[in-house]
Amino acid sequence: MSAALNGLTILAVCAGAFFFLAGTVGLLRFPDTLSRLHALTKADNLGLGLVVLGLLFQAEGLLAALKLISVWLLALLAGATVTQLIAHTARPSGPQA
Amino acid sequence: MPSSATAGGFLLVLAIVLPVAGALLSLALGGRYAERIAFIVMPAGLAVSIAILVSVWRTHNALQYFVGNWYPPLGVAFRADGLSAAMMVTAALLICGIGLFAREQFFAQPGPEQRAPLVFWILLLAVWASLNAVFIGSDLFNLYVALELLTFAAVPLVSLDGRAETLAAALRYLLFALFGSILYLLGAVLLYGAYGTLDITLLSGRVRAEPIAWTAISVMTAGLLAKAALYPLHLWLPPAHAGAPAPASAILSGLVVKAPFFLVVRLWFDVMPRLPEHAAAQVLGTLGAMAIIFGSIVALRQERLKLLIAYSTVAQIGYLFLIFPLAVNPETSHSSSTVTWTGGILQAVSHAFAKAAMFMAAGLIAEALGHDRIAGLAGIGRALPITVFAFGLGGLSLMGLPPSGGFVAKAMLLTGAVAAGQWWWAVIILTGGLLAGGYIFLVLARTLADASEPLALLSSISLGRQTVVVALALCAVLLGFVPLRPLELLQIGRPDVAIGAVR
């Protein structure tokens, strides 16, 4: 049982790491701010989600699992907010006063 | 080390808490309360400082306090020796004088709250609190916080006018100060890593002559030099001190730059009293000498009065650092290095009074004329005789002519130089005196000359403000009646007590 769980964890975390890698490549290679943000958020939200999923298999008890999930949700929310703020300042018309 | 606080140690807490509480209350109540609160705190703070001095003098021992009853190395101690007490009284007298002087300039009109008065009175109290914290601090990190408090109180004083050039001067000052703080912190962590404490008293027992101690002290000293504006780290000082309003200039030039110097003295004579390092001390002395020559020559070439005074500060700071090669010297006798050391401290104190008086005199002159161009000063000596007299009295101390604190201080430094067999410092001291004479007379000759056309004063200057300026200048003169030998007071609580006794 625990071997199977460990296997699932490794699989999910590796998949998550792959998305992080893809997001980072996008951040470095994409031409302008908006598409860079696009690459980052898409990849990182999914990447973090997969890592959290992988860790869920290792969680001790319900509370720990809930904490992990809320970490993911919080990161999603914070990431979305910061992306919005950056996009606001980065759009061609400049930041709106 | 003594295991309990000394009686009267609570005075040390009050010395910090009173001005801090005043500043907090001023911010909370705002408006015209700030000035009233400052004028309540000033006499009280002066009384506390004098009480500390009396207590140190009476008991012939340093006052000590352990905050929260936690003892170092875990807790933080305050400690006031004779030197701290003398500096605290100096600061208190100057703050009170400057406060009286600034009352008209930063008077809050009835109606909505105004920016400059509120900010000035809050910062005045904050500068005072942080100076006291520096003078009684006994923990290197606590001293770091005190230094930062001082920086944040001093920088906005520079740009109180809001003119663009003062903003640039304030920013440059802040960048130098931050650079200094971070170096200081670097040295502090090295000392903690090596000796497991930041308490000065404990450190003095643990520090050994080894590379780690050297590196730490050198890095901290370098940082403090940037804050004290010792040549060649002086670039920020003249625009900052000259650009600030007169009372603020007096605080900055008279008091604020003395705090980092005070800490260098603490580091070299208290943290590692038994580790005389000849070469490093010579470097400090050389920088001091260059500051004297360079600052004085540049002062001679200034066209504006306040800039001249500011460059003279650069030069006068140089004298302070001459004590290092002369007092930290294994070849000189203990008593002669004590003479030099005393001379350096006296120079700090008398320069504080003299320079504050001169900056405020220059402020009054600029207020009356609407400018401070030296070429346009003719006739002002007749219009504002008291102010010009005060300026001259302050100048006496800078030149080192008797009777003045500057004379006694420089005479002691000269004595020390001769006793140490290092005559070249004596040449520097005398040359600096001559150059100072040059730029003071340059100004005085102008002010005493007859105006080609009748002088139109923009505003009349009240007698009260002129009296304050003269009083501060007189303090510098009175210091000239100090006997020409090590002062007992300044030796109380020092690592090697008993004057003249070599341990």
């Binding site: 919005q84 | 907090l24 109180l160 090295l190 090596a194």
Partner: protein, 311 residues
């Protein structure tokens, strides 16, 4: 160990890049990454309290401040790029900095073994404070005077920033007014995140007495939420002459000072707490201090007043 070496090299690389980057904005973004990596490093050094502070304050709030400054200064900064120093000067500076680094590195290798430490003393005395987190015990008991002075430092920096306002807008509102877009995504997300963030901030503050966290970390998160609400246009920044604002700013240090002074009477020393009530008193200090620090941090970011007071 391999992980640590990799992490250290990464931090160094990002740090060097923030100095080398030509574009100031890029350098600032690099600095934010540098801060986050440092936070990771602090975890490796068994200092979770510092890691939280570094991530929230050192990287987050400082980063935000610098990002907004670099956008506002963009035109001026691009002009200044060409003002490069001559090669000889660069070489001299490089030599000097290498020497400094080498000196510090040598000292690091020379640090005595066994290392001096105050950890046992800090642990032994913790019972008297009623706290369970030794870092909080240092901040609130053993070295409470540093923390008290530090709250004053923050307040003074704020007074300094406010003092930069032109006279005609004194008493006015910091920063430009951000308009909320009623149907905007930002407004929606901010409305969602702010309450959650406030809860997280309070939680981090609350657990600080026994676990990693505490007033500074909690206050930083609270400040960030206030800033977010201002930037999303949910609330406007307060005018700096508001009495409630002044009281909120001063409350923390004032309560700290007052309880410290009562220590004279009830515990025999300034900032000493009578043993049975130590934890309660520390909490009574921490709550207003957290609020005051949060308000101060948020207003430090908001800058000097720019709009004249209304009414």
């Amino acid at each position: 160990m391999a992980f640590d070496i990799g992490l250290a090299l990464l931090v160094l690389g990002v740090g060097a890049w923030t100095v080398a980057a030509r574009d100031t904005f890029a350098a600032v973004v690099g600095f934010v990454a540098y801060g986050l990596l440092l936070a990771l490093l602090w975890v490796r050094l068994a200092a979770p309290d510092v890691a939280l502070t570094e991530a929230a304050l050192g990287s987050g709030l400082t980063g935000g401040l610098l990002v907004s400054a670099s956008t506002r200064l963009r035109r001026a900064e691009t002009r200044a790029v060409d003002e490069r120093q001559p090669a000889s000067l660069r070489l001299a500076a490089a030599v000097l900095c290498t020497l400094v680094s080498a000196g510090v590195a040598a000292i690091v290798l020379l640090l005595p073994e066994p290392a001096p430490t105050l950890a046992p003393q800090a642990m032994v005395n913790m019972a008297a404070t009623g706290l369970g987190n030794p870092v909080t015990a240092v901040l609130m008991a053993y070295r409470a005077i540093d923390t008290l002075l530090e709250t004053v430092v923050l307040l003074l920096a704020l007074v300094g920033i406010w003092s930069l306002a032109p006279d005609r807008v004194w008493g006015g509102v910091p920063g430009p007014r951000h308009q909320a877009e009623p149907d905007g995504l930002l407004t929606f997300i901010a409305q969602l995140l702010v309450p959650v963030g406030i809860l997280v901030g309070i939680h981090i503050f609350w657990v600080g007495s026994v676990a990693p966290g505490g007033e500074f970390q909690g206050a930083t998160i609270l400040a960030a939420m206030w800033i977010l609400a201002m930037m999303a246009g949910l609330v406007d920044a307060p005018a700096v002459n508001r009495r409630w604002l002044r009281l909120m700013l001063v409350a923390g240090p004032a309560v700290f000072l007052t309880i410290g002074l009562t220590g004279f009477a009830v515990a025999g020393s300034f900032l000493a707490y009578p043993e049975p009530h130590a934890k309660l008193l520390i909490l009574m200090i921490e709550i207003p201090v957290t609020l005051s620090i949060a308000a101060t941090l948020a207003l430090l970011v908001a800058g000097p007043p720019e709009r004249a007071p209304g009414r």
